[in-house]
């Protein structure tokens, strides 16, 4: 552990990237499985009742739930719904947050001051609490959960966008464009935004995992409004009541959720690398 490395290695160490750039095959395979499986299971009879609370067997590899429905099929269908909700929420957060932050960072002055403080207000409320208030105000549907989770993510997005924009706005090419008479909006659109896109996209992928967990937590709390459409958070919730009799019911959605977030993170890191 304390042996000295030879000098040539020393020099290369300082420039070496932290991880070897390996394609994350496992992560991609998992995500493909979830997406493909979700799409293929869309037409399947999810509601057909078999024996209630049957343990995993060759016919039902993940067992059946309280109402006798095959857990594997519900898992795949639920995966698609959960992923869709998280993706929509991330999109909302990304779009709103980027606009907010870019305008703030680029504009400077009092506009920036207002936007930053408004952002602080948003960030002051913990995500779950903000989601609850939004849902209380707007009712419980899948759409409000998406909105609630999206709004919860806007704050940190805006912060990132603002610092990226502030940094870019002071670069010489922007100053030059301004000197040449370009309007502020055009500057924002054509010069600032494209240069911050990379940072924002990278963050979006990392943020997706967060959105996934949060929307699953909200459906877990029973706020999704439509109990018959499967969803991982909801399946987790249902599994709690029969834990003594069927512990395998909790394993499937929980593990699937964790593995999916892991896979998305890995994917995000891989794409984000320069």
């Amino acid at each position: 552990m304390t042996s000295r490395p030879s000098p040539p290695r020393l020099a290369s160490l300082m420039t070496q990237a932290p991880r070897v750039r390996r394609t994350p095959w496992i992560a991609l395979a998992w995500l493909a499985l979830i997406l493909l499986g979700g799409v293929l299971s869309a037409g399947a009879a999810l509601h057909v009742p078999f024996a209630s609370l049957a343990p995993p067997s060759p016919i039902h590899p993940l067992g059946t739930d309280l109402l006798g429905r095959d857990v594997g099929l519900r898992l795949l269908a639920g995966g698609l719904r959960t992923l869709r909700m998280a993706a929509a929420a991330t999109l909302i957060a990304a779009v709103l947050g980027s606009i907010w932050g870019l305008v703030a960072g680029h504009a400077g002055g009092w506009l920036e001051w207002i936007l930053v403080h408004a952002n602080d207000v948003l960030l002051s409320v913990p995500g779950l609490v903000l989601a609850l208030v939004v849902i209380a105000a707007l009712g419980q549907h899948e759409a409000t959960i998406i909105l609630a989770v999206g709004l919860g993510g806007v704050g940190s997005y805006a912060r990132l966008a603002r610092s990226a924009a502030a940094e870019t706005s002071h670069r010489s090419f922007v100053l030059a464009a301004r000197a040449l008479g370009a309007g502020e909006v055009r500057l924002l659109q054509h010069h600032v935004f494209p240069n911050t896109l990379e940072a924002l996209t990278a963050y979006a992928l990392l943020h997706f995992g967060w959105a996934l967990v949060n929307s699953a937590s909200l459906t877990f709390l029973g706020l999704g409004g439509a109990p018959s459409i499967p969803d991982w958070g909801q399946m987790l919730n249902e599994s709690r009541l029969v834990f003594l009799n069927a512990p395998w019911l909790a394993a499937a959605p929980g593990t699937a959720l964790a593995l999916t977030v892991l896979a998305v993170q890995r994917l995000g890191e891989w794409i984000a690398q320069p």
Binding site: H47, L66, L67, G68, Q140, L221, P227, R240, L241, N245
Partner: protein
């Protein structure tokens, strides 16, 4: 940094170990740990409405009268009573020699103060006030006689007076603590004294050694268990673990799967108690299509496979509900057949013009698909019941949109919006008069949006009738009318699955179903 963290962890574990080694030996005072479910918003029996608070307070307060298992009224703090022929006047002769836990003597004046507190709009009573109905005046005729005057006859009054919500509290304590603080310092006359209540955490009762009498429904003269500590287990998934780890000796409202499992364990005993009142039921909206059509309503009710629901979700531990009130309620008659009849349902729908089409999986009439909106709350396995009904109705070609709201407020909101076809709310109570707000045209729970003169008359008269036989007849007719109009789909009678440790003996519940008679409980091992 890592070593520092490891050191902190090690220190923590060591201190835990030391504490465990010095753990207190088992208490020599006999103590029962009772698991309650929902944390009530407040614990004042005159003010708050949850059934949870009655569980401990039934034993802290005595009431003027008590109701026995057969539904008859027996003397309590009142030795005897008479009702005037016009039903407007009730005169109670009170028991002598009773005092409250703080020494204040119990007398007619105490009764007046208690009832007036309930009736006073400033008290903001959420349940007791409405249970007393048209009670207007309480007169103290002498130290041990009171007369209650009503503005119109009200048959459920005796049942109201037998419930802990109308329990007699010490006027001294009421005056001393005021409306907001009294709930933390309650004083009654019952077999147990109120010791303390830490909101949301626990409530402690201690045996009252001076309890010298008791209504005939109590088997023991004196309580056997010295201390009872109530804790809250709002989340159903936490109740079985608490029993298994010994944290609770008795647990109420155990989920059916856990109950079935623990029943097989000889160290536990299942004490199922049918709760009078309304079963888990869905109300059909007569003003929102397609349930505005009687045939559609009848088809929905006939095709619901209630026994299958009970077997799958409730482990077969409840009876199928066959009336808008449950079979353990006084006045129950069976009006909705328990058996599923899909053939009849199909015929009804065909006759109504809702035909199966080759092009769609749903029945169609004039180009629109047969769709019903169902609204359910998240508790009591309602979501699972809703999903099973959805499966059953979809097999018939009926499209179901199932929506779940998060709270009781959400249910009321849905009720006000009126866009539902079926909605599930249910209340409990031993008197069938609780049906009235559901089925009279101006009732606050008129979920069916029905305006039927016959129901208005029947239920109104039943509330005023003083002759029990007459009341029974009227209530039977009312239930039959409700079934004829297909206003409600009753699913299952509520059975409270209480589970107790094998050493707990004598656990029984009162006529309301919810409230245990703690004076009769004893422990064979402390």
């Amino acid at each position: 940094m890592r070593k520092f963290g490891a050191r902190v962890l090690a220190a923590g574990l060591l201190s835990c170990g030391l504490l465990a080694a010095c753990a207190a030996p088992p208490s020599t005072v006999s103590e029962l740990h009772y698991g309650l479910t929902l944390v009530p918003t407040g614990l004042d029996p005159h003010i708050n409405a949850s059934s949870e608070l009655g569980i401990p307070l039934r034993s802290v307060y005595d009431t003027l009268i008590f109701r026995d298992a057969q539904g008859r009224f027996v003397p309590g703090l009142a030795r005897a009573w008479t009702i005037s022929t016009d039903g407007l006047s009730y005169t109670f002769s009170l028991r002598a020699g009773v005092s409250f836990h703080d020494g204040t003597p119990f007398n007619g004046e105490a009764v007046r103060i208690n009832l007036e507190r309930i009736l006073n709009p400033e008290t903001k009573s959420q349940k007791a006030r409405f249970m007393l109905g048209p009670l207007t005046r309480i007169e103290v005729l002498d130290a041990l006689t009171v007369r209650l005057s009503l503005s119109e006859p009200f048959a459920p009054l005796l049942d109201a007076l037998s419930q802990p919500y109308c329990g007699m509290a010490s006027p001294t304590a009421l005056a001393q603590w005021g409306d907001t603080d009294y709930q933390f310092h309650q004083v009654g006359t019952g077999p147990y004294r109120f010791v303390e209540y830490i909101s949301g955490d626990h409530l402690t009762l201690e045996r009252n050694p001076d309890y010298a009498w008791g209504p005939s429904i109590y088997n023991n003269r004196k309580a056997a268990v010295e201390r009872i500590v109530f804790r809250f287990y709002a989340d159903p998934a936490t109740r079985a673990p608490a029993l298994l780890s010994g944290e609770a000796d008795v647990m109420g409202e155990l989920p059916p799967q856990d109950a079935l499992r623990l029943q097989q364990d000889p160290s536990f005993q299942l004490v199922p108690v049918p709760i009078p009142g309304q079963p888990l039921a869905l109300y059909l909206n007569t003003q929102s299509p397609p349930t505005d059509d009687l045939s559609v309503r009848q088809a929905l009710i006939a095709s619901a496979g209630r026994q299958a629901i009970i077997d799958t979700i409730f482990g077969g531990l409840s009876p199928v509900a066959t009336s808008p009130i449950s079979s353990s309620t006084w006045g129950f008659v069976e009006v909705v057949p328990a058996a599923q009849d899909t053939a009849r349902a199909e015929a009804l729908l065909d006759e109504a013009g809702w035909l199966r089409a080759a092009s769609s999986e749903w029945r169609v009439r004039n180009g629109t698909a047969l769709t019903v909106e169902v609204v359910i709350p998240p508790w009591g396995f309602n979501p699972q019941v809703g999903q099973m009904l959805e499966q059953q109705w979809e097999a018939l070609g009926i499209r179901v949109n199932l929506t779940q709201v998060a709270s009781f407020a959400g249910l009321r909101e849905a009720q006000a919006a009126g866009k539902y076809n079926l909605l599930s709310i249910n209340l409990s109570g031993a008197d069938p008069d609780l049906l009235r707000p559901f089925f009279v045209s101006d009732g606050s729970y008129n979920l069916s949006r029905v305006a039927d003169a016959q129901l208005d008359t029947l239920l109104g008269e039943a509330a005023r009738a003083s002759d029990p036989a007459e009341r029974l007849r009227l209530m039977a007719e009312a239930q039959q009318r409700v079934a004829a109009l297909a206003l409600v789909l009753p699913v299952r009678d509520y059975v409270n699955l209480n589970m107790a440790r094998a050493g707990v003996e004598g656990l029984s519940y009162d006529a309301q179903g919810w409230f245990p008679l703690l004076i009769d409980v004893s422990l064979t091992e402390p």
